[in-house]
């Protein structure tokens, strides 16, 4: 055996616990779910082959379209809002202001809060009658809506809430901002660039790979959103917050339609893949690669 092959074998041996775990807990279930998506299976009984019936049913299922549309709206809105807030906060934190370290810790704190606790807090904050948000608006003479109980506001409220957990992306972007060479700013200063021009010509291009990374991760996570709509709105009102992952869960574990849920899940995987590849393709054209 050549030394190279021996090295490969040794490497595989070292990572074999992970490989076994991946095969048993990820690859195996994924293959199984792909097979089950062609079956009628309700967990309690044996699977019955139904061919493409589950996929055909998707196109006639109005709730599938509602869930897909809502999820895309949520993912795109929360990705855009998250990117803007993240960029703003990261830029502020990197200005070297007093107390920046404390603020950075505070910004990261929500990431550590369990999702259920966070959702319950937000439900009280957004409560139409007794919530702090509407109390504050009331002091300014504005009558706030029923954020979670009104179909026109519910999805927007969840999107705003999603911008609360930006700790991770802020750290990534902060590191990228700190890595921008000082020489570039000095050159820009010599050219007379200030403020917005410095940001547009130097900072943004140099941190654009980090922005793209955050954007892709945000879209992937947002497409899988489950906790907040499940806990806070149960998909209502009027299905305004019925999202894809909740619909998959309902079919699998409430309606007992695991086969159909598997078909939904595979469409979800494909949609996520297409969107991610699309974002990376766009990224290739707009991201300044040498900034990486």
């Amino acid at each position: 055996m050549s030394p190279g092959a021996r090295d490969v074998l040794r490497g595989v041996a070292w990572i074999s616990p992970w490989l076994v775990g991946f095969a048993v807990f990820t690859l195996g279930p994924a293959v199984l779910s792909a097979a089950l998506s062609f079956c009628d299976y309700g967990l309690l009984d044996s699977a019955v082959w139904v061919g493409l019936d589950n996929y055909r049913e998707l196109w006639g299922d109005p709730m599938f379209r509602v869930a897909l549309r809502n999820t895309l709206v949520y993912a795109s809105a929360s990705a855009v809002l998250g990117a803007a807030v993240t960029l703003g906060v990261a830029l502020l934190l990197e200005r070297g202001l007093q107390g920046a370290a404390l603020v950075r810790a505070i910004v990261f704190l929500p990431t550590l809060v369990p999702v259920v606790s966070a959702c319950v807090c937000w439900m009280w904050l957004l409560n139409g009658r007794f919530g702090l948000v509407n109390q504050v608006l009331g002091w300014a003479g504005v009558e706030g809506p029923n954020w979670l109980g009104d179909a026109r506001w519910a999805m927007g409220s969840l999107v705003v809430m999603s911008a609360w957990t930006i700790g991770g992306p802020v750290l990534v972007l902060g590191a990228a901002i700190r890595n921008v060479p000082r020489a570039l700013y000095e050159a820009a200063d010599l050219d007379g660039a200030t403020g917005l021009r410095r940001f547009g010509a130097v900072t943004l291009p140099m941190v654009s790979p980090a922005v793209l990374f955050n954007g892709v991760m945000s879209v992937i996570w947002s497409l899988q959103v489950f906790g907040p709509p499940f806990i806070m709105t149960k998909g209502g009102p009027e299905n305004a917050t019925q999202v894809y992952a909740v619909y998959v869960y309902q079919n699998a574990f409430v309606y007992g339609r695991m086969g159909y849920a598997c078909a939904l899940a595979w469409v979800h995987v494909l949609a996520t893949l297409v969107l991610t590849l699309g974002l990376l393709w766009v990224g290739k054209r707009v991201v300044y690669a040498r900034g990486a």
Binding site: D40, L44, V50, R129, G149, G236, P237, N239
Partner: protein, 464 residues
Amino acid sequence: MSAGAAEVTRRAFLGALAAAGVGYAAWPRKPRGREGVPAGRVVIEYWEKWTGIEGEALQAVVDRFNAMQDRIWVRRTAVSEILSKALVAIGGGDPPDVVGLFSFSVPQFAETRAAWPMEELEADFDGGKGVGVGAIDRGAYAPAVLRLLSHGGKQWAGVSSMYNLALYYNRAMFRAKGLDPDRPPRTVGELDEMAARLEERGPDGRVRVAGFSPRLPEWWPYFWPVMFGGRLYDAEGDRAVLTDEATVAAYSWVQATARRVGVEDGRDFAASFSRSFHSPQDPFISGKAAMIVQGPWIANFIARYSPGLDYGAAPVPVAEGLYDPDQPRGMLEADVLMVPRGCRHPAEAYAFVRWMQSREAQEDLARRHGKGSPLREVSPGFRAGHPNRVVAVHDAITASPAVLVLPQTRAWQAYADLMNGMFDAVWRGADVRRALGDVERRAQGLLDQAARLRAKRGGAGGGA
């Protein structure tokens, strides 16, 4: 390390650690699963949904069973999202011995044969294997209750508790508004009239105290047709029934109520209590709603959080022409006990379920939960000593020939979820007939699909 101090070598440290590990492993002790279990008992695992005071009440009944015999030990575990977890546990081949589900779970478990029918358990395990073993006396159930437990001609579950909804009203608020506290509304017209008198608005014009709202709570958007003679589901033909005149009238009334209280205001008011039910902030308990449709369990929460509340209850008001004091209307639902196939101790599980069907156990749990009895006859002292002062109202609904049971179909959960969206749309002003027609068509699609799959599987478990 300073001179003179005792040195601990790495070998000594590791040796001590290994000795401690071996000592811990070899130390004689009971496995965690047997802690607190008297010697010689068969332990059966019982998953149930209730927590808090309702969980404690059930535990007291379980404790009685554990104390009255020396062969079986029931270990109750409170499980949230119990249906999902039961599906996974049973599908994964590691179910509990007894699982507490809902009456709407019966068709699903029956058609997939995921539970043991009681008849098979009786046949297999009758004959002195334990306490209280013997056939269940089906004649003892109120007739509607047996319908909830059965599917395809077999009984798939025992009952743990049964309930129906009634109109609870605040007698003190009735008096304050010049209404007779002994004369709650009987018809929908009277309900609307009294609700309007009981309603209070703040200086900003918003509802401060609701007279009555079909959004309080928002848990049963499917209930209102009951008050108008609607039925939701035709079990004989396996048809969704939502566009009959009674159901259209019911949701037209919901829409008219929305207009009366204000579409936005009524919705906001109800939404502000969405997480407050069964707490001191519960709208009825805190005096923010004068009338509310609720189950008998509310009495327990009133006793706990507002014992001085002067309340009464009556069967839900009905449409003009339907009122009959001898045949109150309502819809029956039940919490059920099933023995999953593949469980470790079906004989002992059956013994427990069988005991739970006894009048003694049922009345004990019903009393502790503030509920009525699911049995046809009750002991002489049951109502007299009952902590829910209006339990007779619930009992009368249970015994009424006009009572409906929750639609017994495997597709009910998805059907009910469709009605949530429809209710919101109707409240907001959507065309009632069109909204109902849309849900009926989609619900029928679910029912047809379930029937097709049933046929494909060879009709296992029987039909509806």
